[in-house]
Symmetry: C3
Subunit: 200 residues, 3 copies
């Protein structure tokens, strides 16, 4: 089932980004595992709590959280051998963002919620794991200042919703995954962003 594969892809990607972010703040192994877990499953958990969608995925299927912990632990072990960590961080984070946006949209769609709630569900699932990660590391959440970050969640969500009218569910997911990932990478490469707003 492609949705499950996507989900595992997303939580592994985000738990690695969580471990890297935690490592930048000199935390002990346990702290890293916690930040990793929150990054990987925090957005989805918050979405489920907001939508009253119980039980939460990882509470029902502990294999999800075990996967996150293993991925985080392996990151700690192997990261000293890896170069260009920042690039890996960016790619994985972009992947996680698009995957989680698809899943967030689908959860709200299956609950027969309205269009705007589907999109908000995508944004919460896609970006709030990272928001909580940044808060725990004592930083202003970067999502609020980034090039097309949360916007990619919106674009992915709308792409997926529209695609389901024309294609079957699995094709819609793959179309969204590829196009969302490309949009995010283009935004990064060309520093595309929304206009800034500043009050003096």
């Amino acid at each position: 089932m492609i949705l499950i594969s996507l989900y595992f892809l997303g939580i592994v990607a985000e738990s690695i980004t969580g471990a890297i972010a935690a490592g930048k703040h000199k935390m002990d192994v346990f702290g890293v595992l916690m930040i990793s877990s929150v990054t990987a499953i925090g957005g989805g958990s918050l979405r489920d709590m907001i939508l009253g969608h119980y039980p939460l995925g990882w509470v029902k299927h502990p294999i999800y959280i075990i996967t996150v912990l293993v991925a985080s632990f392996l990151t700690i072990i192997f990261i000293p051998f890896i170069k260009s960590i920042y690039k890996i961080f960016i790619y994985l984070d972009s992947l996680g963002l698009v995957v989680f946006s698809i899943i967030g949209t689908k959860v709200a769609m299956d609950m027969k919620l309205s269009l705007i709630v589907m999109v908000i569900s995508a944004v919460i699932t896609g970006v709030f794991g990272g928001v909580i990660r940044d808060l725990f590391c004592g930083k202003v959440p970067l999502v609020f200042q980034h090039e097309l970050y949360a916007s990619v969640a919106v674009i992915s969500s709308l792409t997926y919703i529209i695609s389901t009218y024309f294609f079957n569910d699995e094709s819609a997911m793959i179309i969204t995954l590829i196009s969302g990932f490309v949009v995010r990478l283009l935004a990064l490469k060309y520093k595309l962003g929304l206009p800034y707003f500043k009050v003096d």
Copy 2:
């Protein structure tokens, strides 16, 4: 229905304060919309999640969130033309505080919860949108250090509870709205506050 009007008044007021606060941190348009939304509906959402009061208002009635987004967007457009932004911020925030305290009290009252839970519900609804806004902007939440801020939520909640014994529901709301707003403005004008507590 006066409650609905009050609710719209509250979320519009708070979404404007959220947009202004976000603008002080140079965020992109999307970041502003997110901070605005969290400020306007964060307190009520947290209250509903704590009380198990599902579905959340804006999930059921997406018009609430659309209102917030429109108010936030209009703020971005029109704020360059406005003087004395700080004063507007303070008035709107005070209005939102009192309105949300009334609504928080009423939700707990309708769930037949105890007196102290009604008051806590008012405080959560009234101040936590602002608390989350401040956390997202990387600041110590000002509510914990402000002149009679959270206290106004308590006073409004008690005023409303007591008023419902003597008046009908709508009159109780109007009495609370006016008296709470006046107390808050007096507290600001005369810098009234609770005694401070300091551990060395």
Copy 3:
């Protein structure tokens, strides 16, 4: 009933630590009461919201929150007369940590959740009150950098789970309480910690 006594012990201990932490940031009396309450009941509330375990304890039994408020208020009054506040803070916080870990484990156990969710429930209950306290005070949550802090929650949870196979519930609680408290104090005394992880 030993569980109830433990629970009161835990919330009183943690509300005192919350009041002390708030006092270090010069907050008004109301801010102190709020930080105290969040520290004492925040971890358990978050756990219940994550597990869908409604109604929350203090919503159903307002005596819990009244206890927290009274303990916090008494702390404000009596703390000027007390020496070595830091030591008291550490002992109380350690006590609260172990007590809440036991309770978190038991809640998940009674809901027949899996082993790993029991342990996570212990960690959430034990440490997240303090995490939210630190966020509200504008600090990087210390739990992520501390000597065997969250690890004590894991150790206590596992000790309790294993003990219930060999002893009755109350004995298991007492065994866990004593051994967890001793492990935490030894970790503090000898600065035991997990290895650190750092990404350059």
